[in-house]
């Protein structure tokens, strides 16, 4: 009988762990060093980071498997609300706004902000000096971070990136005056970059804690117990030390950091401050950028598209083949890829070729205009080609017999007719382009969609600000549709058979 007992215990524990599904851990491993990221290993890649090690420790202490779920950093709170995962742990700062939406455990790390600049420029010694000497500095940071809110409230021009890597790269390219991010990212990325250096000491402390759904009080309790255990037996310190993150500040404050008092950056922004009168001007600013981007990129698409169509139809075959290749190429690649190449890839290539300063010149607006323009030119070219071909050959002959040159016939007889045919599909494309400008938010251009994301994620008012943004998009795109129908009718009154 005695031999049966261990077996029964094993069975029971198996039944227990089989009954409990693994906990799902929401985290963004993209550009996620030193929190959680992929590193090349002997066989393929392995997921590493100080949070990965904390999670492994928690698995042991909770007696439950924890499964990784990739989720965009700035959507972690809404994702948790939706129960896409059970806990969010990814350098998520405790803030009053977030505390209204989710529950936080005790902190496992105390972050501070680190200002990073290009090495040797010495324009300002630290953050306070930057505020005094360059109050409208363009400062990069990550979307949805405490640093972003700090910069925005200080009145800087904030460039929000989805990952720290892009922010530091743009700083190196001269597109930013400085980057302000949490110390772990600064250590992990900027600390290794010979072209960058820290400006001043880290400041503006705050707390990283694990977020759980407000309903999961029991899970929060168990996590708290595990974290407390890890702090008192030194295993958390050991992990942070391995990643170079243990410092005097953790030593002095981490243990007693559970009280809500005196954490300056977590101060409540106040519900009332996210009223319509506060975010509408910002949305309108974004809408203006969207309109400007639409106008510039469509102007480029029309002129380039016409050139491509003319080349395809009237140039000698080898040259016409280039036009065909253009259309196929730009219709075949995603715009997003093109924007990333123009914004990040091109400056790197130019620098490699010894041309400096290209990065400064290719602003997000320039890259978005060119990228969308090149892409839409391919579609416009096909519209113009079909419209030009729809003009009967007899029109060319009639003009020829009146002594008109080919060029004159094209500009005065064929093109005006073709443009009329092209107008309805062109306005359709204009509306599509207007909406596609939202892609430019991926290269840190603060247009309407990006502004919505920033505001919604800061205020967590996804529905209200979302509706306001949708109304703005509609208010701008609907008139375009009406204009196109009106033009079509006005012309068909005179010209249609």
């Amino acid at each position: 009988m005695a031999g049966v007992w261990p077996f029964a215990v094993l069975m029971a524990s198996c039944a227990l762990s089989a009954g409990e599904a693994p906990l799902r851990w929401g985290c963004d491993e993209e550009g996620g060093a030193p929190y959680c990221f992929k590193r090349q290993a002997a066989r393929g890649f392995e997921r590493v980071g100080f949070e990965v090690e904390i999670v492994q420790e928690l698995e042991k202490r909770l007696g439950r498997a924890i499964e990784f779920t990739q989720y965009p950093f700035d959507n972690l709170v809404p994702g948790l609300r939706k129960k896409d995962f059970d806990l969010a742990m990814n350098g998520l700062e405790v803030t009053a706004d977030r505390r209204r939406e989710v529950s936080f455990t005790r902190p496992y790390y105390l972050y501070r902000q680190q200002l990073v600049v290009r090495k040797g420029e010495a324009r300002f010694a630290d953050y306070e000096a930057m505020r005094r000497t360059l109050p409208r500095a363009r400062v990069g940071t990550m979307d949805g971070t405490a640093a972003e809110r700090l910069l925005a409230s200080a009145g800087f021009e904030v460039a929000g990136y989805p990952a720290p890597t892009e922010a530091y790269r743009d700083l190196g390219l001269g597109r930013l005056d400085a980057v302000l991010l949490d110390l772990p990212m600064a250590i992990s990325y900027a600390g290794k970059d010979p072209a960058l250096e820290f400006a001043g000491a880290p400041f503006a402390p705050g707390r990283y804690a694990i977020a759980v759904h407000p309903d999961a009080a029991d899970l929060r309790l168990r996590l708290n117990k595990a974290l407390d255990g890890m702090i008192s037996d030194g295993s958390l310190r050991a992990i942070l030390e391995r990643w170079g993150l243990w410092d005097g500040f953790q030593e002095a404050h981490l243990k007693g950091s559970t009280s809500e008092a005196s954490w300056e950056l977590e101060a409540d922004t106040g519900e009332g401050e996210w009223a319509l009168s506060r975010y509408l001007p910002l949305l309108l600013e974004g809408a203006l950028v969207t309109v400007q981007l639409t106008a510039c990129s469509f102007a480029l698409a029309m002129s380039l598209g016409l050139l491509v169509a003319i080349t395809r139809l009237y140039a000698p075959p080898p040259v016409a083949a280039l036009a065909i290749a253009y259309v196929e190429f730009f219709r075949g690649i995603p715009v997003l890829l093109l924007l990333f190449f123009l914004y990040f890839g091109l400056p790197a290539m130019a620098e490699g070729a010894g041309w400096n300063g290209v990065g400064e010149w290719i602003t997000p607006f320039v890259a978005a205009t060119v990228g969308l323009g090149l892409n839409y030119a391919a579609y416009e070219a096909e519209i113009y080609r079909a419209s030009l071909q729809a003009v009967p050959r007899g029109q060319w002959e009639a003009a020829t017999c009146l002594g008109m040159s080919r060029r004159l016939t094209f500009t005065h007889v064929v093109l005006p007719q073709a443009l009329r045919t092209a107008l309805p599909p062109m306005t359709g494309d204009l509306v599509a382009l207007f909406k596609d400008t939202s892609i430019a938010s991926a290269i840190a251009l603060v247009e309407l969609n990006k502004q919505y994301q920033i505001l919604a994620k800061s205020s967590l008012k996804f529905v209200e600000i979302g509706l306001a943004t949708a109304v703005l998009y509609l208010a701008l795109s609907l008139p375009l549709g009406y204009l196109s129908r009106w033009l079509e009718q006005a012309w068909s009154r005179d010209h249609d058979d």
Partner: protein, 253 residues
């Protein structure tokens, strides 16, 4: 003479003209003499080469052999840039399907070439266009767009347009073929009036009656060759060749 006289017609000499599309011979050694100021009707069965001959005269088609002479300017096979440029300003053409410019009004269609090619000012081009529209009886529709005009009206605007650059030769490619009998006679009436101005006119037509009445000479083309050519009444009333007899018996019957 110090005053500008209306441009007189010039004679056309077609000599051994040959054209093929691939292996198919469309014109097989056509020779014709069209004296200045006369009207020549080209008749014959479909596919006989009438329209191709006309398009060669208009410079719209190239040809493989032979020549076309307008006065002292000669088009030969191959490159003819100089002669073609000269030809463009002196030969007008009217098409079966009008080919008016749909984005321009009747007046705009007629004024287009004087303004863009002739370099006339807007007012001057407009006056000339109005005078021509009056001549073809379309001055009341000057501001109408082609889509709002009937076939006969369109063709009369097309005639005014073809006259706008002051051509010496007018080429008409089955210009009444798409019209109903009533409007047909309007258009033919306009053409008879123009004929009296002294232009050289070459017209491809299926209107045998009109050709007999209004043309000076008739050439019957069949199988890419001139089957018979002569004074209009002689050819139509007393055809000599068996090809002409067969064709005329069919169309008159």
């Amino acid at each position: 003479m110090t005053t500008e006289s209306p441009p007189a017609g010039i004679g056309i000499g077609v000599n051994g003209l040959a054209k093929n599309y691939g292996t198919r011979k469309v014109l097989n050694g056509v020779s014709l003499d069209i004296p200045a100021g006369t009207t020549m009707a080209l008749i014959g069965p479909s596919g006989g080469g009438k329209s191709t001959l006309l398009r060669c005269l208009a410079g719209l088609e190239s040809f493989q052999d032979g020549s076309v002479a307008f006065g002292d300017k000669t088009l030969v096979s191959g490159a003819n840039h100089g002669a073609l440029a000269w030809l463009r300003s002196r030969v007008g053409m009217i098409f079966q399907d009008y080919q008016l410019f749909p984005h321009l009004s009747a007046l705009g269609n007629v004024a287009a070439a004087p303004r863009w090619v002739g370099g006339l000012g807007a007012a001057e081009a407009r006056d000339r266009a109005m005078a021509l529209l009056r001549k073809v009886g379309m001055d009341g529709h000057a501001s109408a767009y082609p889509a709002k005009l009937s076939g006969g009206q369109k063709q009369r605007v097309a005639i005014a347009r073809a006259l706008a650059m002051g051509p010496r030769v007018l080429l008409c490619d089955e210009i009444t073929a798409a019209l109903d009998p009533e409007t047909k006679s309007d258009v033919l009436g306009v053409l008879e009036e123009i004929r009296s101005d002294g232009l050289t006119i070459v017209m491809v037509t299926h209107e045998i009656g009109f050709a007999r009445r209004a043309a000076d000479r008739v050439a019957l083309l069949a199988d890419g060759q001139v089957a018979e050519c002569g004074h209009a009444r002689e050819v139509i009333d007393n055809p000599a060749s068996s090809r002409a007899i067969r064709f005329l018996a069919k169309v008159m019957g």
